[in-house]
């Protein structure tokens, strides 16, 4: 999995590319842990080819941390395969999900 980052309106836009599963989730966690807790995030999922519950667990963990650190975490551009996992687990209720990155960073 590749992680790239840019900044829009004080939001760190973290774009993920590839597979987000048990073997790659620690990489994402470590990457996010390297940021200040109060840094607000938009995680761009457009190029995530595959996500399983370990990947979901990592995202939920980040969301919880950001929530306690009173920062914001949003998800953007979820594809159908990724959406399915959020739907079955009802994890979509925990996130603000946008279909556009800049809209997520502006709102």
């Amino acid at each position: 999995m590749n992680i790239s980052e840019k900044t829009i309106n004080n939001y760190a836009i973290v774009s993920l590319q590839g597979i987000l599963n048990a073997s790659s989730a620690p990489k994402l966690k470590t990457y996010i842990a390297g940021m200040p807790d109060e840094q607000s995030l938009v995680i761009d999922l457009e190029n995530v080819e595959f996500l399983d519950s370990s990947g979901l667990g990592a995202l939920v963990g980040i969301a919880r941390k950001k929530k306690t650190g009173s920062a914001v975490m949003k998800l953007a551009r979820m594809n159908e395969r990724v959406k399915k996992v959020f739907e079955i687990t009802q994890a979509y209720t925990l996130f603000d999900i946008y279909d556009d990155v800049s809209a997520a960073a502006e709102a």
């Binding site: 048990a22 595959f50 519950s53 963990g61 687990t89 209720t93």
Partner: protein
């Protein structure tokens, strides 16, 4: 049930992707032969995801300090359903699963729940110190039309 492939992998998270890609491909080949026009992509994704979950569990619960530990994945089929079994030598586990309480932001515990929702049948047996988790799904999707 006719056996198709049996595959043994080292119990290491590094190989989760191998297991799930193979599952996805086996499902695709099977669906190609069996289905008329069902949603093949969805069928394959169910296997990709379920095997990813089951394999991850097998590796996670493997007793430590046993680097030679292995997980076996066995595919078999009959007319229109494909079964995949994940076999490991971990200690016995409780396969009963319920939806995790999402409002408490759980980081894990979704795996078996997802498998149950994606597959038609999930069975768990313990034979001679091995765990066998077998998941099957019918290739012909039933639509309520």
């Amino acid at each position: 049930m006719n056996p198709i492939i049996t595959l043994t992998l080292q119990a290491n998270l590094r190989y989760v992707r191998v297991a799930s890609i193979i599952a996805c491909n086996v499902a695709e080949i099977f669906a190609d032969f069996t289905c008329n026009s069902t949603d093949i992509a969805e069928f394959c994704h169910a296997y990709e995801l379920s095997v990813s979950e089951a394999f991850t569990n097998s590796v996670r619960y493997a007793k430590p300090a046993q680097p030679e530990k292995q997980v076996t994945i066995r595919f078999s089929s009959d007319n229109n359903s494909l079964a995949v079994s994940i076999i490991d030598t971990n200690s016995q586990f409780n396969p009963v699963t319920q939806a995790p309480d999402i409002s408490s932001y759980p980081e894990g515990g979704y795996g078996l729940f997802l498998i149950h929702r994606l597959m038609d049948t999930v069975s768990y047996t313990r034979e001679d110190d091995t765990n066998i988790l077998t998941m099957t799904k019918q290739a012909t999707m039933t639509h309520d039309t």
